[in-house]
Amino acid sequence: MSAPPPRMTQTTQAVLRALLEEPERQLYGLEICAATGLPSGTVHPILARFEALGWLDSAWEQVDPREQGRPRRRYYRLNANGISLARDALARAYETRTRIVGRLRPAGDAV
């Protein structure tokens, strides 16, 4: 059984767009915050949900912290399935927003 399509907020869409900018590139938390303009406290719960949905893979950076002189980072990247689902979800969110705004415009159309 396939998962129902996720309902997305503006912040969720911003995170998805940042991850889709260069889908093959891995990003870590601060880079995603910089790309979206959102604080870490907003971004990490969204990333955790994407991971739970199976759209996003995360892994520790493969470096020697002693050589780098800094601790390793946790990198995130949309997997192949996630890329296609994310694109669909963004397109659907845009379509829904357009449809709802279009329906709200004519006076007296709301139930």
Binding site: A3, P4, P6, R7, M8, T9, T11, T12, Y28, G29, L30, P39, S40, G41, T42, H44, P45, I46, A48, R49, F50, A52, L53, P65, R66, Q68, G69, R70, P71, R72, R73, R74, T96, R99, I100, R103, L104, D109, A110, V111
Partner: protein, 130 residues
């Protein structure tokens, strides 16, 4: 920990954040957040740690939810929480159901069938309100 350490207030705030999280995720997020904090200036570390603290409950919810997670579902309008949805008519996506449609809340996206169905079926079953 190798490399620069976050300042004490940031580490203290981070300790609270990590304690909010479920036990199985604490080590991972402690390391991940400490790495991110260590790359920032001191004022930014405090701001970042406060932001993480503000988002810690949402992160915990995302990590512990047993149901299929939905995106952005943690911030529902208080009106929707009280069942005061604002429904608008929405045509069905199914071409065979043109003209039937459903209702969708403009705030939270919740859908429901038009109320006439329920009333009609209740009347048909002889359970109409009286």
């Amino acid at each position: 920990m190798i490399g620069p350490r976050p300042v004490l207030p940031a580490r203290w705030l981070l300790g609270i954040v990590v304690r909010v999280l479920p036990a199985h995720a604490r080590d991972r997020y402690r390391e991940e957040f400490r790495t991110e904090l260590a790359e920032l200036s001191v004022p930014a570390q405090i701001a970042q740690a406060l932001s993480l603290l503000a988002g810690s409950v949402a992160l915990r919810t995302a990590l512990t939810s047993r149901e299929l997670p939905t995106l952005g579902g943690t911030r529902r309008s208080w009106r929707c929480r009280l069942g005061r949805h604002r429904y608008i008519g929405r045509e069905s996506d199914n071409p065979e159901m043109r003209g039937v449609g459903s209702l969708q809340c403009v705030r939270c996206g919740k859908r429901k069938d038009p109320p006439s169905y329920g009333v009609m079926s209740a009347v048909a079953l002889g359970r109409g309100g009286g």
